[in-house]
Symmetry: C2
Subunit: 309 residues, 2 copies
């Protein structure tokens, strides 16, 4: 393995940056770079590009690598990036992870292979192990992506235990998008003092997470509300913390009344006055006019804005 | 669109050919071609390569295209092939479908995009529609792959109705791996006289399917028991049909007592005296020694063999 560079681990609010598509559904690197730069200027400590909310799994490996390259060329520091690199195909996961490390990304956020269901922890261990061994680079920081409501394949605590024992330093943490605080808490209790950084998958659990030893959050609505979410992180020990948390939770609840990914795009299109953002790739569909009107109206009533967009 | 060639539609017993991997987990084209040729000589009318049981979703598009090319060069007629070409990423589905048509494959068997859950029929319609339009070739024969126990994304009858109305002749049929005969029967009743060929996804439903207007079956155990399954098809109007069906159902039931994909590989390894076949790609794992012993012992007791392997 190549030796590890001394690199600070990523912490704070990370957004799974949404991906803009042109009318012909091809990814739009310029618009992507602009949005990512805005996120970094607006409260995000890093970007978990190619997450679920990025429509990552609607894109090929090549399409994603082109966007990643454009992002780094466009001035977003590789050290702030934690791209999603987990695919259903082992070979795709290896290619994408290797390239992310080569480009200097701070870490990678890896889904388990998500086509086959009911697979064993042994099979999942072998999957992550093959990726780590084939990439063969001590700079790799691998964050496990637990999102059973979508992947339908879980990252169990026992699996984390095995991976951490075998690859300490490389297996660096997890995003828990189970939506189940008891799971996040259990993950924190068991692993937080072992070089394993836990990020809840929603800002709803940001303050609870920080109080229990979490390192921030990686959250869909970080795409539209990064400043306010970052304020919770900055002030989590203050007496204002619960009030700040309540406000971001309220915003989240407005957004998630409608389908999340097209909602994030519609909100960005509306507040950025850039209609092209509404385009999603199949199998997703845009919000209906009624859904968009509802979410925008409620956000405005709550005083929401996207300053500088 | 390019004009359609007059080509006979594929009918009969199709196997989702298992994929051999070397010790380093790379696909093994030579062993693949040998197995596929044996299948074609042993009762299969065609091969649904890159199906669920082929570990298709554990391979990259490039790896699959190399195997497909090797197969055709190796003497398996493209007209007997119905490769799986559906991926979670639209761009991958387009690439793979376009290449399959270019190589002259009889049809393609398309999974819906399977990462996002709870997607709408409208979103799935757009996915298949984009693939058809981008491939833009009248030779395309698209078979829809309904396997909700694994994909967790269903092909509804209403979706078939819409696709068939918009792309008659191109949307050519479906494989129903729901395991729910009432769904297969409903599909047959509604679409069998409209140029839409229905294949149950297990030989357990072969005879029922044929009697209701089905065109054969596409079945995992076609990998190991193609001759006997084909005998049901050849004799389905005879008085022997129910007895022949009972025999293949009994064999199927022995195999599916253990995990199907490693079972097919273990059986092929055992009866072909070729241990390399046991290798699976993560996240799958081989059968345990006990599982393998059980399935082999029971198959032998039932008089099972793989002649000519």
């Amino acid at each position: 393995m190549k030796p590890a560079a001394a690199q600070k681990r990523i912490e704070g609010v990370l957004a799974p940056a949404i991906t803009p598509f042109r009318r012909d559904l091809s990814p739009d690197p310029d618009r992507f770079v602009r949005h990512c730069r805005w996120l970094m200027q607006s409260g995000c400590a890093g970007l978990a590009v190619f997450g679920t909310n990025s429509e990552a799994n609607s894109m090929s490996v090549d399409e994603k690598l082109e966007l990643l390259e454009a992002l780094i060329k466009g001035g977003v520091p590789a050290g702030a990036l934690m791209p999603g690199t987990g695919h259903s195909a082992l070979s795709d996961s290896v290619t994408m992870t290797r390239e992310a490390v080569r480009m200097g990304c701070s870490g990678v956020l890896m889904l388990p292979p998500f086509y086959y269901k009911g697979v064993s922890d042994e099979g999942l261990f072998r999957n992550f192990s093959e990726v780590i061994e084939r990439v063969g680079d001590e700079r790799l920081r691998l964050y496990l992506y637990h999102i059973p409501p979508v992947s339908n394949v879980a990252i169990t605590l026992d699996l984390i235990e095995r991976l951490l024992a075998r690859y300490p330093g490389i297996v660096a943490g997890a995003k828990d998008s189970s939506g189940d605080w008891s799971n996040t808490r259990a993950m924190l209790e068991r692993f937080k003092d072992r070089g394993f950084d836990v990020f809840p998958g929603s800002e709803v659990f940001l303050l609870d997470g920080l109080r229990a030893g979490g390192k921030g959050c990686i959250t869909a609505t970080g795409n539209v509300n990064p400043g306010a979410i970052n304020e919770v992180l900055r002030n989590w020990r203050s007496t204002e913390a619960d009030k700040l948390q309540a406000a971001i939770t309220a915003t989240r609840k407005i957004v998630q009344k409608v389908p999340m990914i097209p909602a994030l795009k519609a909100i960005t299109a509306h507040f950025g006055n850039d209609p092209a953002w509404r385009t999603v790739r199949p199998p997703l569909t845009e919000l209906t006019a009624g859904e968009e009107k509802q979410v925008i109206t409620e956000l405005k009533a709550a005083g929401f804005s996207m300053p500088g967009l």
